[in-house]
C-alpha cells in the first residue's frame, strides 16, 4: 500500500531499498522532498533553515556512488532534517532563539558526523521551541510550527518541527532532542514514531544544552523500522561526551520481530489519571488488550512517586538551564545589543532582548532554585525525589520487561489554547518526564486517532540500554495496526 504513496511520505527503509534497486534516484527523492517543503512549509513552518544546495549536492554524490555500485550505508541518500538545537558546521544553528539568530556553528555535533558518514541528504534545520523549552512549538522566536493533521493545532514540542516534518513529508526522518518529552510528545501529536534513547546512549556533544542531566538526542520517523535504522547510526560511546556510556551497541534492526509472546508489559496505575482525555485512554487501553491477545503478559504495576515528577523536573531542568544559558552574553557569538553603555547594560539588554518569555521564566526559576539558602530546599530535594522516581522504575523492572503508558493526557491542542497557562502546559509532559528523570529509554508510537482525526500515541518505556525490547514490542504492535501508514491530508 505504501508503495503508492508519494516518495516524501514513504519510510526510509523502503526508499533505501528502492534506491539500491535503482527504482528511484537519490536526486529524484531529494527533489521530491524539497518540492514538498516549498509546497507546504509556508503553511506548516517546519523549517527554520532549508539546506537545499547542500542536500542536492549530497544526493548527486550518492547517485554517482550508487551508479558505480559502491556499497553504501543504510541511510545513504535519505533526506533527513535536524532539530535546530544540534550544531551543524557552516550552517546556522539558532535554537529558535533571537540570541543565536546569527550563529553559524564552526563544528558538527557528534551525531552529525555520524549521519554524514551515512551520507544522508541534509534537508535543513527544523523548527522548535526556543532552546527546546516548551510543549507546543509556540515558543519559537521565528514563529510557531503547525500540526499537519490540523493546522489550527500545535504539533507539540519542543521537537514540533521534527515531528510535523516527518508527518507532512517535508523530511523522511528527523532528529529531535528530548529533555522532558520533547521527542515523544510531538511524535504522539503528529502520529509518528519518536524515541528518546537511554541517557548516555547518544553523544550530546554538539547538542545545545538545555538540561544536561536530562537531554538526549533521538529519532523521529515514519515507522519503527526507521527508528531502529537511525539508532544504529547515532548511538555509541563518544570520548567528547563524558556522560556517554561505554556500552556495546546492538544492531537494533535485529529486535524487529513481530512477536511479543511471554513478554511482560507493566501498566502503571498512576498513568491513568483523572483528566486524561477519554479517547486517549480508550485507544491506549485497546492497545493493551491487543498486545495481551498477541500473547504478552499484562501486569498492573505501581510507580508511586509519579505525582512528584513534574515538580521535580521543573526544579532540575530550569536549574541546569539557568546555568547552561549563562554563556549567551553577547561577548563571543550570537546576538549582541547594539545599544549598551557599559558591560552590565550589555548583558542586561543582550539577554533581555535575545531571550523569549518562556526561556526567561525558566532562567528565573532555575536561578532562584540554585540561590544560596534555597539550594537545599529545592535543587537538593529535587535530586532526592529524582532518586526515588528512579527506584520506582528499578523495582518495577524487576517484574516486567517494558512499561506501557499514554504519551500525553490529551491529543494536540489548539494554538494559543495553553499559552497563558504555563502550568497546564507543563502538565502535558506528565507521562514523559519520569523517563528523563530516570534516564530510561522511551518510544512513542501511534495507536489510534480521535473522532476528529487527531493522532493518539502510546509510550513504551524500557530498562536502561534496553531500547531493543521496546523496539520489539513497538514493531509487533505496528505490524498489527494501520496507524503508521496514515498520512495527513494537506
Amino acid at each position: 500500500m505504501s508503495t503508492e504513496l508519494p516518495l516524501y511520505h514513504r519510510p526510509a527503509h523502503e526508499l533505501s531499498a528502492a534506491l539500491r534497486r535503482g527504482e528511484i534516484g537519490t536526486v529524484e527523492l531529494a527533489r521530491a522532498v524539497f518540492e514538498r517543503i516549498r509546497a507546504v512549509d509556508e503553511k506548516l513552518h517546519t523549517y527554520l533553515t532549508v539546506t537545499e544546495t547542500i542536500g542536492m549536492e549530497t544526493a548527486a554524490e550518492v547517485d554517482r556512488l550508487l551508479n558505480r555500485g559502491e556499497p553504501l550505508p543504510p541511510l545513504a541518500g535519505i533526506p533527513i532534517g535536524i532539530k535546530d538545537v544540534i550544531c551543524t558546521r557552516g550552517i546556522r544553528t539558532t535554537c529558535a532563539s533571537k540570541i543565536l539568530e546569527p550563529f553559524v556553528s564552526p563544528y558538527d555535533a557528534t551525531v552529525m558526523r555520524k549521519l554524514h558518514l551515512q551520507r544522508i541528504v541534509l534537508t535543513g534545520k527544523l523548527n522548535m521551541d526556543e532552546f527546546a523549552m516548551g510543549s507546543s512549538n509556540e515558543n519559537s522566536a521565528f514563529g510557531p510550527c503547525r500540526n499537519p493533521w490540523d493546522t489550527d493545532r500545535v504539533p507539540g514540542g519542543s521537537s514540533g518541527g521534527s515531528a510535523a516534518a516527518v508527518a507532512a513529508g517535508t523530511a523522511i526522518a528527523a532528529l529531535g532532542s528530548d529533555t522532558g518529552g520533547s521527542i515523544r510528545q510531538p511524535a504522539a501529536f503528529c502520529g509518528v514514531v519518536g524515541m528518546k534513547p537511554t541517557y548516555g546512549r547518544v553523544s550530546r556533544f554538539g547538542l545545545v544544552a538545555f538540561a544536561s542531566s536530562l537531554d538526549q538526542i533521538g529519532p523521529l520517523t515514519k515507522d519503527v523500522t526507521d527508528c531502529a535504522l537511525i539508532l544504529n547510526a547515532i548511538c555509541g560511546h563518544d570520548r567528547y561526551d563524558s556522560t556517554s556510556a561505554d556500552v556495546p551497541v546492538p544492531d537494533f534492526t535485529e529486535f524487529l520481530i513481530p512477536e511479543v509472546r511471554g513478554l511482560r508489559i507493566g501498566i502503571p496505575q498512576e498513568y491513568f489519571i483523572e483528566g486524561i482525555h477519554p479517547e486517549v485512554e480508550t485507544a491506549v487501553r485497546r492497545a493493551i488488550e491487543q498486545l495481551s491477545e498477541m500473547g504478552a503478559q499484562i501486569e498492573e504495576i505501581s510507580l508511586p512517586h509519579t505525582e512528584y515528577a513534574v515538580a521535580t523536573y521543573y526544579i532540575i531542568a530550569p536549574a541546569e538551564a539557568s546555568s547552561n544559558l549563562a554563556r549567551y552574553d553577547g561577548v563571543r557569538y550570537g546576538y549582541r545589543t547594539p545599544n549598551a553603555e557599559d558591560l552590565i547594560e550589555m548583558y542586561r539588554k543582550t539577554r533581555g532582548e535575545g531571550f523569549g518569555p518562556e526561556v526567561k521564566r525558566r532562567i528565573m526559576i532555575g536561578t532562584y532554585a540554585l540561590s544560596s539558602g534555597y539550594y537545599d530546599a529545592y535543587y537538593l530535594k529535587a535530586q532526592k525525589v529524582r532518586t526515588l522516581i528512579k527506584q520506582d522504575f528499578d523495582r518495577a523492572f524487576e517484574a516486567v520487561d517494558v512499561i506501557l503508558t499514554p504519551v500525553t493526557p490529551t491529543p494536540a491542542f489548539r494554538l494559543g489554547e495553553l499559552v497563558d497557562d504555563p502550568l497546564q502546559m507543563y502538565l502535558s509532559d506528565i507521562f514523559t518526564i519520569p523517563a528523563n528523570l530516570a534516564g530510561l529509554p522511551g518510544i512513542s508510537l501511534p495507536c489510534g486517532q480521535t473522532r476528529e482525526g487527531l493522532p493518539i500515541g502510546m509510550q513504551l518505556l524500557g530498562k536502561p540500554f534496553d531500547e531493543g525490547t521496546i523496539l520489539r514490542v513497538a514493531y509487533a504492535f505496528e505490524q498489527a495496526n494501520p496507524y503508521h501508514r496514515l498520512r495527513p491530508a494537506l
Binding site: 556553528s105 554563556r327 558591560l343
Partner: protein, 478 residues
C-alpha cells in the same frame, strides 16, 4: 594592646599539563591572543568538557606531598558569575568534594620549624584575560589563551602568625610544587599567585578578628609589603576603638598601601551545583599508590638528608636544594667525585657563577655532573691545581669540552717536578734580595709574595703545595 596577626593564604598554581583541563588544546603561556583556543575553550553552544586526568594526577601529587587526605569520591561544581573572560558564565571548580583535604606542611622561619595546616586543595579551570585598551574606555578585548588552564587552589588554615611566616609558607609551597614538577610557579607569568586573609586579635584571644582579603598578588615582596601594611592599618583601627571592615582590598604597588575595592561588597552568590556534564571522579587505593610511588624526595627531607649524609652546613644545603635540578646535579657530582664538600664548593661557587654569566641554568649546563666530577678528581690527584681548575671550568662552560681535553690542549697540567720548581724558586730568590731580607728578619708574611712570583713564572701550573714547602725550605735553610 598587643595584637596577634592571623593570616591564611589561598594559593593558586597553574598546572603544567600538556593540554588544558577540559580540552586537548595546548596549555602554553603566551602566544598571540586567542591562538590557544578551540570550541570548548570558547564555550560554544553544545560543547562539553572532558577531564584531563593528568591534571588530577598532578593535584593528587600536590596533595600527597602536603600530607593531605584524598577524597575517594570527588566531583566538579559550577561556580557562576558573569564576566567577559569567563566564556560559559560559570567556572568549573570544586566545592564540596575537593580532591585533597586536611593536610599540612612544615617549613623553617629563622631556623625554627613551623607547621601550617592545609584545609583543602581543589582543581579548577583558569579564566581568560580582559585587556582594557589604553586611553579608550569604549572597548575591552578578551584573550582566551589562559582560559581553561588547570589551576589548583591550595587553601591554608589561618595558622600563619606574621607576614614573614606567610611568605616562608608561600615559598615552601612553591618549592614543593616545583620539586613535584607539576607547576612552573612562574610568578611573572601569573602561574603562581595568592590571595591572603588577614586579621588581628588581642594576644591570647581565641576568637578571630574581622578579616580583610588581599587579592591576586604575585610577588613575594608585594605580599610582604601588603601584609605589613594591613597589620599596621588594622592595628591603628583597633587601637583607636574602631572596627575593621570585612572587605576585599587591593595592594597599590606604587604607593605601598592597600585599598578597599571600589563599590560593591554585595555578597556574591555563585549558585554552585554539581557539574552535570562530568562524571564524579572515583579515586581508588591503586591510583593513590601510583601517585605516591611517583613522588620525588621533597625539599625539606632532602635538606635534612644532605646535612646528615654529606656533612654540609645548613646554609650550603639551602642553596644546593633550591631547585630539584640543582640538588640532583650536586648529588651526582658528590657521589662521582667522592668529596661532597669539594663538590658543594664547585657547584655553588664557580659553576653557578659561570653559568649565570653565560645566561644558562643548571638544567642546560654545558658541563654535566660527570664532567665536573672528573675535573674535581683531577684536582684530587694533583693533575691540576685549584687555581688552574677555575680556569679550566670556565673553559668547560664556554666550550662544553671535558677537563682532560682542555688541560691537554692548553698544557695546563700541574708541574710537580721538584727540579723545575726549585729552578723557579732560585730565580725568584735571586731577583728579590730585599724581600729575602725581610723574610729572614722575621716578616714571614712575604712568603705569599714569593709563592705568587713562582706561580707567575710557572704560569700557574706549579703545584702550590710543593711551591710552598720548597720555598720555606730554601728560605729557612740559608
Amino acid at each position: 594592646m598587643e595584637f596577634e596577626v592571623v593570616i591564611g593564604l589561598e594559593i593558586h598554581a597553574e598546572l603544567k599539563t600538556r593540554g588544558k583541563l577540559f580540552t586537548w588544546t595546548a596549555n602554553e603561556f603566551g602566544g598571540e591572543p586567542n591562538t590557544r583556543i578551540d570550541v570548548i575553550t570558547l564555550g560554544m553552544p553544545g560543547v562539553l568538557p572532558v577531564l584531563n586526568r593528568k591534571a588530577v594526577d598532578y593535584t593528587l601529587a600536590a596533595g600527597l606531598a602536603m600530607n593531605c587526605k584524598i577524597n575517594r569520591y570527588s566531583r566538579f561544581d559550577r561556580k557562576h558569575y558573569f564576566y567577559p573572560d569567563l566564556p560559559k558564565g560559570y567556572q568549573i571548580s570544586q566545592k564540596d568534594y575537593p580532591l585533597c583535604y586536611d593536610g599540612w606542611i612544615e617549613f623553617d622561619v629563622n631556623g625554627e620549624v613551623r607547621r601550617c595546616r592545609i584545609n583543602r586543595i581543589h582543581l579548577e579551570e583558569d579564566a581568560g584575560k580582559s585587556i582594557h585598551a589604553e586611553g579608550r574606555d569604549d572597548v575591552t578585548w578578551v584573550d582566551f589563551n589562559r582560559c581553561g588552564v588547570p589551576l589548583i587552589e591550595i587553601v591554608s588554615e589561618p595558622d600563619l602568625r606574621s607576614p614573614e611566616e606567610a611568605i616562608a609558607y608561600w615559598r615552601a609551597v612553591k618549592e614543593i610544587l616545583e620539586y613535584l614538577d607539576v607547576s612552573d610557579c612562574n610568578m611573572e607569568e601569573g602561574s603562581f599567585r595568592c590571595d591572603a586573609n588577614i586579621s588581628l586579635r588581642p594576644r591570647g584571644s581565641q576568637e578571630f578578628g574581622i578579616r580583610t582579603e588581599l587579592k591576586n598578588m604575585n610577588s613575594f615582596r608585594f605580599v610582604q609589603q601588603a601584609l605589613e601594611y594591613e597589620v599596621k592599618r588594622q592595628a591603628e583601627i583597633l587601637r583607636s576603638g574602631g572596627q575593621v571592615v570585612q572587605e576585599t582590598r587591593l595592594f597599590d604597588v606604587e604607593r605601598g598601601v592597600t585599598r578597599g575595592m571600589r563599590g560593591k561588597e554585595e555578597a556574591s552568590d555563585y549558585r554552585y551545583f554539581p557539574e552535570p556534564d562530568l562524571v564524579p571522579i572515583e579515586i581508588d587505593e591503586e591510583w593513590i599508590e601510583r601517585i605516591r610511588r611517583s613522588l620525588p624526595e621533597l625539599p625539606r627531607a632532602k635538606r635534612l638528608r644532605f646535612m646528615e649524609q654529606y656533612g654540609l652546613p645548613e646554609q650550603d644545603v639551602i642553596v644546593l636544594t633550591g631547585t630539584r635540578a640543582l640538588a640532583d646535579y650536586y648529588e651526582a657530582v658528590a657521589q662521582s667525585c667522592g668529596d661532597p664538600k669539594a663538590a658543594a664548593n664547585w657547584v655553588m661557587g664557580d659553576l653557578i657563577g659561570f653559568l649565570r654569566e653565560a645566561g644558562r641554568s643548571i638544567e642546560d649546563s654545558p658541563v654535566g655532573p660527570e664532567a665536573l666530577a672528573e675535573m674535581i678528581r683531577m684536582i684530587q690527584d694533583g693533575t691540576i691545581s685549584g687555581r688552574i681548575a677555575k680556569e679550566v671550568l670556565e673553559q668547560m662552560v664556554a666550550t662544553g669540552k671535558s677537563a682532560t681535553q682542555i688541560v691537554e690542549e692548553k698544557g695546563l697540567r700541574q708541574i710537580s717536578d721538584v727540579t723545575q720548581i726549585e729552578a723557579w724558586i732560585d730565580q725568584v730568590i735571586a731577583e728579590n734580595p730585599a724581600q729575602v731580607e725581610q723574610y729572614r728578619s722575621g716578616k714571614t708574611k712575604v712568603l705569599g709574595y714569593f709563592v705568587g712570583q713562582v706561580m707567575r713564572l710557572s704560569r700557574g701550573k706549579a703545584n702550590p703545595q710543593q711551591v710552598n714547602a720548597l720555598l720555606r725550605k730554601k728560605l729557612d735553610q740559608q
